[in-house]
Amino acid sequence: MSVLVYVEQVDGKFKKSVFEAVSYAKAIADNQNTSLTAISIGNVAESDLKELGKYGASKVLNVATDQLKTFVNQAYAAVIAEAATKEGSNIVVLSNSFSGKGLSPRVAVKLKAGLVDGAVELPNFDGGFSVKKTAFSGKAFAVTSLTSANKVIALNPNAFGVKENPADAVIENFSPEVKATDLTAIVKEIVRATNKVSLPDAELVVSAGRGLKGPENWGMIEELADLLGAATACSKPVSDADWRPHSEHVGQTGIAISPNLYIAIGISGAIQHLAGVSSSKVIVVINKDPEAPFFKVADYGIVGDAFEVVPKIIAALKAHKG
């Protein structure tokens, strides 16, 4: 028996959210007095697989089958479920990433496991097994008690943090048979902007709204984000007006994020927007309307015109960075 964590690779590399999932799974394994096994699918260099040991994985199953180079959730789910059975793992942990969201439900059905997706804390083991997750788009949390023998948890990015817990990771090749019928969805093309910080994983986010007046004014938002190493985001009216892509829309009907820092510029803070960002650790609001509801949930606020305030902040940041 062991806890199993799926480590999602992107272009052969692991991202921070993977180390976070490994750290989280290790904490569960410690509680259950068992070890942690990671499963990687795709082509990852041995040195990168070894690095998973740093966060507590003592074994890494390496599935480097050619057929599984690109992500197909149906086939990946079958492989993960088979690994769980082989390892006797009754707890499987994944990142609640875009791919993870398409994967964890299939793994759960295969293993007849209760599933908590969007987990924000370690399970509570007192007299059972319950996990806290986001609900009502960040307006609340739901504590879900899992009563099934097998359990699957998909962890939200930035919810637990990366924790080092060194173990020597033994790498074992694992070549399960893949059914052709599990590979009927064919990936034709992957388009990824590699120079940009991805929004769901970002630790720092600079976001702007209608107060910016038009898409031509986003230059200073992007400059501020670049200087901080932050991702850019926007409010719903902005993506609805096609000033910015839908993938940047945060809020109740966009994506929910929980970065360490969220800077909202020219966003009034409608309840739907707040729902998606309220679990950010530090919130800065810049708005010329002192009555903007966003100030009620902000840690730092500046009442002023974005076109005067943002350049000052950019200058200060440049000075700070030297």
Binding site: F98, G102, R106, L115, D117, D299
Partner: protein, 257 residues
């Protein structure tokens, strides 16, 4: 004549759209019974906004007599106004599985059972419901039916046999091609949500709504308690004239940069 109707039936596509009955996005969320139940008092319920996007795309794909759209909801009788709204938007008929939607596993199983008995070319869902925020139902249906599922899609073209789908990934998109039956969960971009017109609202009253009883399936877990986020401390205001102070505060006080 018989050959002709069979042929017509063969080329018409059938799309099933799963809709969830959720609190309106402006709802202030509160709980009752020692935080174990969502307080529905005074709450307006709507078609889950992402499901509306899925429904709108399904209607577009079937426009001009190319196919039919069935909506399915797992819910008690109180969800019927939401189902009628989906019919008003343009679905051809509706099915309600008469049960409280216990969780995604239960809901997905009911839909999969219905889909098994009724031959659909595609099943569309919203990317997640805005209440429990599970993005589980679509992929679970795919697993129950052993067909591909593509989660969080931004674009869908489908001719009844082959679908070309754009799926969101961190920092970009992936283009996937599927031949044969599939399930997809739709996000913004897939379609503009359609608004029902008067003719749609009138005709929705008489469109068929079939009520089915639920199929039993084991329970794997349940929500035992809700919590609301801890209130935040008071805002620290920085005068606009000295906006540059923000950087040193974020560095030395908040320690986030």
């Amino acid at each position: 004549m018989l050959v002709f109707t069979t042929l017509i039936k063969y080329i018409l596509m059938k799309i099933l759209v799963c809709i969830s009955n959720v609190p309106d996005t402006t709802t202030k969320i509160t709980f009752t019974n020692d935080n174990t139940q969502f307080n529905t008092a005074g709450v307006q319920f709507i078609v889950n906004p992402y499901d509306e996007i899925a429904l709108s795309r399904a209607i577009e794909l079937c426009e001009g007599g190319k196919g039919t759209v069935t909506v399915i909801n797992v819910g008690e009788v109180a969800t019927e106004p939401t189902i009628r709204k989906a019919l008003a938007i343009g679905a051809d008929d509706a099915v309600r599985v008469n049960a409280a939607p216990r969780d995604a596993y239960f809901t997905a199983y009911q839909i999969a059972e219905y889909a098994k008995a009724n031959d659909f070319d595609a099943i569309l869902c919203g990317r997640e419901s805005i209440d429990y925020n599970g993005s589980q139902v679509a992929a679970m249906i795919g697993e129950f039916l052993d067909i591909p599922s593509i989660s969080i899609i931004k674009k869908l073209d489908f001719d009844g046999t082959t679908a070309t789908i754009e799926r969101e990934i961190e920092g970009g998109k992936e283009v996937v091609s599927v031949t044969g039956k599939f399930v997809a969960s739709c996000a913004e971009g897939t379609a503009e949500a359609k608004i029902p017109n008067m003719r749609g609202i009138m005709s929705a009253r008489t469109k068929p709504l079939t009520v089915l009883e639920a199929v039993a399936i084991e329970e794997l877990g349940k929500v035992t308690k809700f919590e609301t986020p801890a209130p935040r401390g008071a805002v620290k205001l920085i005068p606009a004239e000295s906006a540059e102070d923000l950087i040193s505060l974020l560095h030395s006080e908040a320690k986030v940069i």
